[in-house]
Symmetry: C2
Subunit: 319 residues, 2 copies
């Protein structure tokens, strides 16, 4: 058996994307399908297999593939399950790794999307060669994957790395988790929108965003406006960077990472977000780390990152 | 060679304690000396060797001993050094592991005191069998050692686990590190004293602590008063527990530990501190962990814990 290839599957709330990847991160083929429309998860797995099968044939059949890595919201590495994922159609605890193992006749491993991103970055991206780093995904929420001693930290129950839910503001913004002041209510695509809405209400400063219909006021529009120099959008980005930078300063005190790597839609603001985040991070961190911990963007192409991350789990499998 | 014993040395700002320990944590002999009075670290090592040597002979000589584990403030595991320790007489970077290796003709390993406490707890104490836990030492400052996947997290530079220096209050109390609002300015022996002083000034409530001369208002007196039901002392403990509990809730979101273990002088307050800390921890943690992460006291005898912790480093050594 050759087994120099890995199948990566990323299950999102809307779409599922998959691809076959070699050890260097080259995507040899990919595809996608809707995650929705399958009431039973077994139906979904059937459909997924039918979609993926031609791709497996194309790269030379099962013998070429070492295993399947799956990234999914609320994916639990230890149990091989998806547990109570609010954005997926299947409720409760889904034994996803087992279902895939049976349907695909391959070993399968699962973790949540941010952990998969961290392993992808370590295998193919900006964190190659690093043994200690933190991956932060700034999407609808804030996800994180913590790598220490060259290993992803799963914690005693498989759910470690929930930096989106550290409380950064006492009695702050209400969070989807039911508590108040979680980091992701500020530092995420949704967070920056909430900040922008507050600023638009509170201030009279002119802004191109005032002309947008409310349903178009998304994080992309805010990043674009900031890049164009819109003062109020820049203020929203700076505010986001301040809260994120301070939280990252505290995160450094935990695991003393070599780098913190940012990924996801919000990083489209580029240096506009990175520079002030770095400023607040360095200003608030214990002196021994000031100016020493790299803050960088992911080196994985966003359209491929989810597949690459999921596929990279396969190389971490024990034989 | 037998090598079923370990030599543990704990270097404190005032005293150095040492002992020979077997694999089950039995102390076969111990001793102590002053850390002070040696301008040159080599003189200190000489004196230490003269003190320790009879103990080595007593247990059967060098052949019985696998190595030396050293716990010291600012001890760096990777470099085998003590780096810029404010409370030790020797300045700059001290190559302590090498000095001991040469003088004692044994392999030596060093880490900071809180990390040593964590490994001691994992080897001999409350964390036996645990792969994921956080050790918190509540002494003059707040130290911490984080164990994940069964390994202590040292970080990329050897200085991970500085939970005493996560900022919990914007523009809060000034800290020895030069910043403001660090956790240890509240949750430590010094922190509870500062809280008590503030309460005594701010409130008119009667308290047995009002009668104490200022130099006797230490954390022990405050714990004792709280145990006796002194209202203001209880308020100080509750305030400390609130800040500590909230910080621990955030810490859980990082590494999802099975338990958080408290050690040090402040834990003498017992359930008076533990119960409210647990209450605030559970109230502020992400729901999946509420009521699930154990908060417990160290199971090591305080007088022996430093030696046991340092000695336990030896069992972690690679051959």
């Amino acid at each position: 058996m050759n087994q120099q290839l890995a199948l990566g599957i990323d299950i999102g709330g809307t779409n599922t994307v998959f691809g076959v990847v070699d050890r260097r991160g080259n995507l040899l083929g990919e595809g996608s399908m809707s995650t929705r429309g399958y009431e039973e998860v077994t139906r979904y797995i059937d459909a997924l297999y039918r979609k993926v099968h031609p791709l497996i044939e194309k790269v030379g059949g099962l013998d070429q593939i070492r295993g399947v890595g799956v990234g999914a919201p609320n994916g639990n590495f230890y149990h091989g399950t998806i547990e109570f994922a609010p954005n997926l159609p299947w409720k409760g605890v889904i034994p996803l790794a087992n279902l895939i193992r049976e349907q695909f006749s391959m070993q399968a491993v699962i973790t949540n999307d941010a952990n998969a991103a961290a392993i992808g970055e370590m295998t193919y991206g900006a964190a190659r060669g690093m043994k200690d780093f933190i991956m932060i995904t700034l999407g609808t929420g804030l996800g994180s994957g913590i790598v220490a001693n060259g290993q992803l930290i799963y914690g005693h129950d498989g759910f470690a790395g929930e930096l989106g839910h550290i409380i950064v503001e006492d009695e702050g913004r209400i969070c989807g988790c039911g508590r108040y002041g979680c980091l992701e209510t500020y530092a995420s695509a949704t967070g920056v929108m909430r900040t922008m809405e507050e600023l638009l209400k509170k201030k009279k400063t002119d802004s191109i965003l005032r002309k947008l219909p409310p349903d178009q006021l998304n994080s992309k529009a805010i990043c674009d406006a900031a890049i164009q120099g819109d003062k109020l959008a820049l203020e929203a980005v700076e505010f986001t960077a301040k809260i994120l930078g301070k939280a990252l300063a505290n995160a450094i005190a935990f695991t003393a990472p070599e780098a913190i790597i940012l990924f996801g839609g919000l990083t489209k603001a580029g240096d506009l977000l990175l520079n002030p985040t770095r400023k607040y991070m360095d200003r608030n961190v214990l002196k021994i780390w000031s100016g020493k911990v790299k803050l960088m963007r992911s080196e994985l192409k966003e359209s491929h990152a989810a597949i690459l991350g999921a596929s990279a789990l396969v190389w971490e499998m024990k034989d």
